[in-house]
């Protein structure tokens, strides 16, 4: 990833009353808290020197940086609990961090806060193939979950960063990946969580069984971007590995034709494991990096079918025919696993490879109803021309999740700012089409300014109610998700209508 902005970004805002009260005072003296952290985790796992803390100043989104007061690397759930409890007592905000590969600044530290790094917690705790479950610590990488249950089973969510990204981070962000059109997202696979709540309580929500009684706290927690607490154990559902996988890449003259092929494939009742599209710019970049032998055409469509052999065979011919019907004269079927890997390498290289055709770029993450694809792509191209910037497009075409890559040269005065503005305009186009400002990267610090475009005041207020139920003091990852800092206040007592009010004789003002 590249794309560091010279301009100072909007810094994280802290909603905690304690921190706000101190805002005018000199930086808080955290020596006592740091001393406690050293006792809890051991000296060697607490970092306070600036050169050590620099490691953690950003997540995968490098244009935001912040240095925490301390970073602590706990070795287990009990240490996490004691760290969070100590922060709660000291009224110091904290941020949990996994692999730091997130793309929305969700793990950006809070200045003068504590960063809880979960990278030491990478044990696989239980494997229960009989009941299709695995229980892991949050620092285990996404790829290692599948590795632990292979070859008979696999864990479907597969973000592009799966080799490094951690399950804890996946839980926080509700990560998806290329195969989620068919298989769903992290939230569809988490059956239990051990959580440390912001007050330092440790609770287990769910477990190996489905439908635990009461409110679906798992559903509320997964995707909450570290603002409701920190997971210290994760129970996941795993599924039998598909009998067969068939992959093709079809090339088209334009994204419009490729988009129409996608519509026909899905309308026909096929639910592919993945459908990925790249436009000409993305193909060019991917080819430079991966050398998969892709021709320079207007669009490439990668379609993967997996599942039962018979159904795949039947459907695969249908898909090839649909691509041809929509003008593809070049349909390449992966003959073996090596060729399939080459196709995917080209697709997954498209992001990083943009660096070869542009000095800097922003990765956008918008969602649109899939049928709006042609008009939205046209609009994005117009906007690119208006701004005089190149936009390359890579997307999960099945679920309408676009990743426009806005290219710019940070050395050219004002270009980064223009690129950022264009990036924001693209999200507005997605919203106008009935979509969303983020499909998988999360809101974090990067997109909170766009939240009011998607949600009204009442909606944001409802979100805040959930946050306050978990974190009334506002210490867990403050300054993320919500567009403006909000305080929780006391839980109001039960409101009962006064008889005079009921009779219309008085009003509460």
């Amino acid at each position: 990833m590249d794309g560091r902005l010279a301009a100072a970004p909007e810094g994280p805002t802290v909603a905690s009353p304690a921190a706000q009260a101190d805002a005018d005072a000199s930086p808080r003296d955290l020596r006592k808290l740091v001393g406690e952290l050293r006792v809890i985790c051991g000296d060697q796992w607490v970092f306070t020197q600036e050169h050590q803390l620099r490691t953690y100043e950003s997540d995968g989104l490098l244009q935001y940086t912040a240095i925490p007061a301390a970073a602590v690397v706990p070795g287990g759930a009990e240490e996490v609990q004691r760290v969070v409890a100590a922060c709660a007592r000291a009224e110091v905000p904290w941020v949990a961090r996994g692999a730091g590969s997130g793309l929305s600044g969700g793990a950006l530290p809070v200045e003068d806060g504590v960063l809880i790094v979960l990278s030491r917690m990478k044990r696989i705790l239980e494997i229960d193939l009989e009941n299709h479950r695995i229980c892991v610590e949050p620092g285990v990488t996404n790829a290692n979950v599948t590795a632990a249950v292979a070859p008979a089973f696999f864990y479907p969510p597969d973000p592009s960063s799966q080799i490094v990204c951690s399950i804890g981070g996946n839980v926080a962000e509700n990560s998806g990946g290329a195969h989620c059109f068919k298989y769903g997202f992290t939230t569809n696979y988490v059956t239990g969580l051990e959580l440390v709540l912001p007050d330092g309580e440790l609770v287990q929500v769910g477990g190996r069984e489905l439908d635990p009684p009461g409110y679906d706290l798992l559903g509320a927690f997964v995707g909450s971007e570290g603002t409701l607490g920190v997971a210290t154990k994760v129970w996941l559902r795993i599924v039998p590995a598909p009998e067969t996988v068939r992959t093709l890449v079809a090339f088209f003259d334009s994204t419009r034709h490729a988009g129409e092929a996608v519509s026909d494939i899905v309308q026909g009742g096929v639910v592919p494991g993945a459908i990925e599209m790249m436009d000409a710019k993305a193909i060019e970049a991917a080819e430079q990096a991966a050398r998969a032998g892709f021709p320079m055409r207007g669009a490439a469509l990668l379609v993967e079918l997996d599942g039962a052999e018979r159904e795949c065979d039947a459907r695969f011919e249908e898909v090839s025919a649909i691509c041809e019907r929509h003008g593809s004269d070049d349909v390449r079927v992966a003959r073996d696993e090596a060729e399939r890997q080459r196709f995917w390498k080209a697709r997954k290289a498209a992001f990083a490879a943009m660096g070869r055709i542009s000095p800097n770029y922003f990765v956008q993450d918008g969602v649109i109803p899939r049928t709006k694809l042609p008009e939205v792509l046209e609009r994005i191209e117009q906007l690119g021309q208006e701004y005089g910037l190149i936009v390359a497009n890579v997307f999960h075409a099945g679920d309408g999740n676009l990743h426009p890559l806005v290219c710019f040269d940070g050395a050219v005065e004002g270009e980064a700012k223009r690129a950022e503005e264009l990036s924001g305009r693209i999200l507005e186009v997605c919203l106008e089409a009935g979509g969303s400002i983020t499909g998988e990267h999360g809101v974090g610090v990067d997109k909170k300014k766009h939240m009011p475009k998607m949600f009204g005041e009442a909606d944001l207020d409802a979100f805040q109610r959930l946050r306050c139920a978990f974190d009334p003091a506002g210490l867990a990852n403050p300054g993320k998700v919500m567009p403006t800092p909000r305080l929780c206040g006391e839980v109001p007592g039960p409101y009962r209508q006064h008889p005079l009010e009921a009779a219309g004789l008085a009003e509460r003002m």
């Binding site: 509700n174 439908d211 009684p213 009461g214 409110y215 590995a241 969303s436 499909g439 839980v491 007592g493």
Partner: protein, 356 residues
Amino acid sequence: MTVEEAAAWIREHEAVRPRGGGTKLGWSPAGDAADLDTRGLSRILEHNEGDFTAVLEAGAPLVEAQAAFGAAGQMLALDPPLGESDAATIGGVIATGDSGPLRHRYGGVRDLVVGVTVVLSDGTIAKSGGKVIKNVAGYDLAKLFAGSFGTLGLIARVALRLHPSPPRTATVTAVTDDPAELAGAAARLAALPLEADSLDVSWQEGAGRLDLRFAGATAGERAQAAREHVGLDTEIDEDDTERWAALRDRQRGDVVLKVSGRPSDLPTLIGALPAGASLVSRAALGLSWVSLPEPAAVAPLRDAMAPRACTVLDGATRVTDPWPAVDPGVLAVMRRVKQRFDPAGAFRPGTFVGGL
């Protein structure tokens, strides 16, 4: 009725119970609340065929929505029993987290709802999610409200993900009176990448049956191919609609206990069934519904299955506590959620898990 009118009505009432078709009113105590009948909110607001999504008002009968989707070759992959006169509404199904055999492949209510509009006790109308199938902006309140039994607020509108309706189905079926053999066959099938739509095990009066349903263009061939994995004498049923309707119906009865278990619990559960009981289990999911002859049979079965969570659905008002016990720490979080969303305590007070 409009959502705004519902909000005004809610503000005027001290205690409110949202209700749809009234097919599951016995699933938890009525409490002392005024009924808000959602059947005035019954429109199909959007069916975006090309996008496989729909937006419905809560009071829309599920059977009508499915007919509309079916006309376009689509379906909502949610097939719970629809109750008397097929009156169940989408809002009622979501509020109770109900499901049917398709849950095996497509997940439950929580996995199919992509957006929700709710009305809170102070009349606030708030939405979460959207109407696209992939979206991580903001908190997922749809999941929080799904299965909350109307105790957090009124679910007024929902956006749903739809799926293609399969052209053909075929079921492999086998019978045995040996619980271990039955559970073994189910476990074997569940571990294979068959991509079946449904895998149900049922048991009644010493006789067990396994039903494995395939859907899609090659359903018949795949059912044939699956036979060898069952390990029992099998038959194929290609005209299987009635069979699955009957399995769905077994989720309802005078007294029904839902067991949130593990697939490996199946032999224990069958062994613990009292005389006169009937069981249907989503065998790969570990979820089972046991129809019991009388309320007194609930406690011994719960004891036998402890520590699994067992919830009384039908007949809930005839037992001391229909809800399983919840860990005190978790209950405290749920209480705070209830207090924040419904500070007035207006939505079905005292009727949910742990007295919420």
